[in-house]
């Protein structure tokens, strides 16, 4: 069934170094998503699609879209897939704030991680930044330096005593990474 998130991808992921980085948002989805109706705008459809940024790919800029994303390459900028799952693979190195539904880190992230449901730091993974998620799993042996706020992110942004997890205070940092052109 097309809605089952854990289904394996129907097509092989583009891994060729020669291939251009595939944007997280598909330019032409293979089939119209059944849940693309306006009523489902808040909860994005669970697609089987999953984009992969291969190990040889380096992206500077912002990534956004509506499908799950696996990063095995390098990304500097911002990864914004709030409705979808983001996985930083073992080879992945990300210098960015990462937004996702479930964010799994097996590689290295220098930046803040915002997960709507869960953040998972695997044994081989490392985060140098803050985590904001209702549920956080840190596997033993993983490396982490930063703060963990296990309260669900507030849409309205209630005042927080600490700058590091306060979205408005993070803006200057965001501006730095957002300012770089994609594909540069």
């Amino acid at each position: 069934m097309a809605w089952k998130r854990d289904d394996p991808p129907a097509h092989p992921e583009p891994q060729s170094p020669a291939a251009p980085p595939r944007p997280a948002a598909p330019a032409a989805p293979p089939a119209p998503a059944p849940a693309a109706s306006p009523s489902s705008s808040h909860e994005a459809p669970r697609r089987t699609d999953r984009a992969t940024i291969g190990p040889s790919i380096f992206i500077k800029g912002d990534l956004s879209g509506e499908e799950d994303l696996v990063i095995e390459g390098r990304v500097e900028g911002k990864v914004d897939l709030k409705q979808n799952n983001v996985t930083i693979g073992k080879n992945g190195k990300v210098k960015a704030d990462v937004f996702g539904r479930v964010v799994t880190i097996e590689g290295e992230v220098t930046g803040n991680v915002f997960a709507r449901e869960q953040a998972i730091l695997r044994q081989a993974g490392a985060i140098f930044g803050n985590i904001q998620a209702p549920r956080v799993i840190l596997e033993d042996g993983s490396r982490f330096k930063g703060s963990i706020d296990m309260e669900a992110p507030k849409e309205t942004g209630a005042p927080n005593r600490d700058h590091r997890s306060e979205p408005s205070r993070v803006e200057p940092h965001r501006a730095e990474v957002v300012g770089v052109k994609a594909g540069a």
């Binding site: 730091l121 033993d140 930063g146 703060s147 309260e151 600490d162 700058h163 590091r164």
Partner: protein, 212 residues
């Protein structure tokens, strides 16, 4: 060579001491921990954990709805030592290590047994840094060795429940213990008072300090 200079992960740097086989982790009752959790129950607190990231501790602390900062002090000190910097870490090291905004305030600090691995001067520098980030009532949990020797590396502590700690030993090698006395702790941690102190059978004295 002072006990301090043996800090580091390399076996050559570790002093030869009484070697114990790495056994299964020990579980010990912690009276200070129980007192600490009684104090913070029902409050949204900001916690500083100076040990390595331990998943089960994160999961345990999540029930308190806290904001948790994890800053692995021993890893930072070891990295500094191995990079060939001076023997003692100065105040600038601790400022850089705990690089949080000035207005960040911690309600609870888990120092575990890490203070045993700091020279008295380092401990004083670090205490001053911690003091800046604590308001009145903030609590600091520390485990001080009272034995002549202690493991060459800090234990890895896992909170089993509100009254029990799992001690995971990371090395069989031993080194001399600084054996900080309670009066010395009070002197170093000016601005804090000893709220609870428990001498445990396995050679550890638990301290629960409170910021005045």
């Amino acid at each position: 060579m002072s006990w301090f200079s043996s800090r580091g992960t390399g076996p050559r740097k570790e002093q030869q001491g009484r070697v114990q086989a790495l056994a299964e982790p020990d579980v010990h009752r912690s009276l200070a921990l129980a007192a600490l959790f009684d104090e913070i129950r029902g409050r949204k607190v900001q916690v500083l954990d100076l040990g390595p990231a331990v998943g089960s501790n994160v999961e345990f602390l999540s029930q308190f709805g806290c904001k948790l900062y994890i800053e692995d002090l021993y890893a930072a000190l070891s990295s500094r030592t191995s990079s060939g910097e001076g023997a003692l870490a100065g105040p600038e090291f601790f400022t850089e290590f705990l690089a949080v905004p000035d207005d960040t305030r911690f309600d609870v600090i888990f120092a575990w047994d890490l203070f045993n691995y700091l020279h008295r001067k380092e401990l004083a520098h670090f205490a001053a840094q911690l003091r800046r980030h604590c308001d009145r009532g903030a609590r600091l949990f520390a485990l001080m060795s009272i034995l002549k020797t202690m493991p060459a590396q800090p234990f890895r502590f896992k909170i089993q429940d509100e009254q029990h700690l799992i001690y995971e030993r990371r090395t069989a090698t031993e080194r001399p213990s600084p054996r900080y006395a309670p009066a010395e702790m009070t002197d170093i941690f000016k601005g804090f008072r000893v709220d609870r102190s428990f001498l445990l059978r396995h050679g550890i004295q638990e301290f629960l300090l409170v910021k005045e």
